[in-house]
Symmetry: C2
Subunit: 258 residues, 2 copies
């Protein structure tokens, strides 16, 4: 087992920052127990969090918070507690998963440019949720697959000058992707599929998905025609996809030796 | 000869304002003596200007100014002076004529939207000269026949929401066209073609073209798809075209009885 490579990857991903325990747990439940009826037993949860260097006390606090927020329900089953997503959080998780686990090779849609009637018509946040990135006041770009707000002026995109790609790229978290990229590259070359046990695989997946989703969910999904040709987000996407396919999700019951 | 109707039209057009004598004379030369080698004799010029209520002294001052500006050359021919456009002013006149005398029924091109790289790339005046109207900073609309500046993002126009037509219409001199429209309507119903003599025809044409060009040259030519459905500029265009066709340009030599 190439534990050095695994430990290096784990440490690097944990060091990237933004690793709040409750947030890590949101990722874990999203990756491991998203399916309807799926849950994670207390001992499994403890083992995974310990492997990610989280202390038991911090796990308890995070669980408490997530239960209070209606994100997780916990039920006693004999002597163990089982933790599961609630119907609401499962739905939200599913929606985010469409982006987090999307294929980097999916058919590329075209793009469109919108002009809103005035700057107050639709708030910027709502436009971002609908998949549109701002270019100049009242003007937004997005995938042809995104639904434009009612009454907007809509034009189909064509050729894109380089300056447009750069201006859009500036909002597409290039620094964040550039920090993640070398870690993913190192992981993909140094880790052999089949060499990690179920617990390590769970941790590896959780940390990859966690660092990936922290970036990818903060910007709209734009067609590559709108992005700088060397945008690091795309390389990250390819590596995340490759790694998650090389290290498939274990079943929650096989993580701890029974 | 329905001199009442002619006088009413003449007075109404003269009253619209902006009738500087030198500018009226630019219009007159443009309408009457645009052709290469064409000129206007002093007595004809005096007769036309007098018919437009301009005093001889004002004509002399304007002629002096236009000669100084290189717009007009005057040559003695026996006892009369002949005035003509210079090669430069003829070229400029020809360029403006393409718009002033355009047919309102010309094939409608599509439209396009441009986004410039930054707000300093191309000055607004230059964009207007190229036929583009501003919509929001860095964003311009124009006919598909206009040539976009190098390196702009260019999108082909499609459906236009009403608010877009209104926002564009707001820059398209609706008030000015609305002031001209009733005069043109009155002229087209009250004046019978063939009832005016050559001098009156010359004056009528000059005043129509003058008031029309003062508006039409101040905004880019946009396809109707971009304009409010009730934009008065189009009705004016139709009437100007009808009137100029009903009262064809006399030859400069037939204006005064010989």
């Amino acid at each position: 087992m190439p534990s050095d490579a695994f430990d290096q990857t784990k440490t690097a991903l944990l060091t990237l920052g933004g690793q709040r325990v409750w947030s890590l747990m949101v990722t874990l439940f999203g990756d491991l127990a998203q399916a309807d009826g799926s849950s994670i037993d207390g001992p499994v949860l403890s083992a995974v969090m310990t492997e990610m260097d989280v202390r038991p006390e911090a796990v308890r606090v995070a669980l408490h918070r997530l239960r209070n927020d209606g994100w997780i329900v916990s039920q006693k089953q004999g002597r163990t507690r089982r933790h599961a997503l609630t119907p609401t959080s499962r739905q939200e998780t599913l929606r985010a998963s469409a982006r987090i686990y999307s294929s980097p090779n999916a058919q590329e849609p075209g793009w469109q440019l919108l002009v809103l009637e005035d700057s107050g018509t639709v708030p910027r946040e709502e436009m971002a949720e609908q998949g549109f990135a701002p270019l100049v006041p009242r003007v937004f770009l997005g995938s042809a697959a995104s639904r434009p707000p009612k009454n907007a002026l809509v034009l189909s995109g064509g050729q894109t000058p380089d300056w447009l790609r750069e201006q859009i790229g500036a909002q597409m978290l290039e620094a964040e992707y550039s920090a993640l990229l070398p870690i993913l590259k190192h992981a993909s070359t140094s880790l052999d599929s089949g060499t990690l046990d179920a617990l390590q695989t769970t941790v590896l997946r959780c940390l990859i998905v966690h660092n990936w989703r922290r970036i990818v969910l903060r910007h709209p999904t734009l067609p590559r025609a709108l992005l700088p040709k060397d945008w690091p987000g795309h390389s990250c996407h390819v590596l995340v996809d490759t790694l998650l396919n090389s290290f498939p999700r274990p079943s929650p019951d096989e993580i701890l030796p029974s």
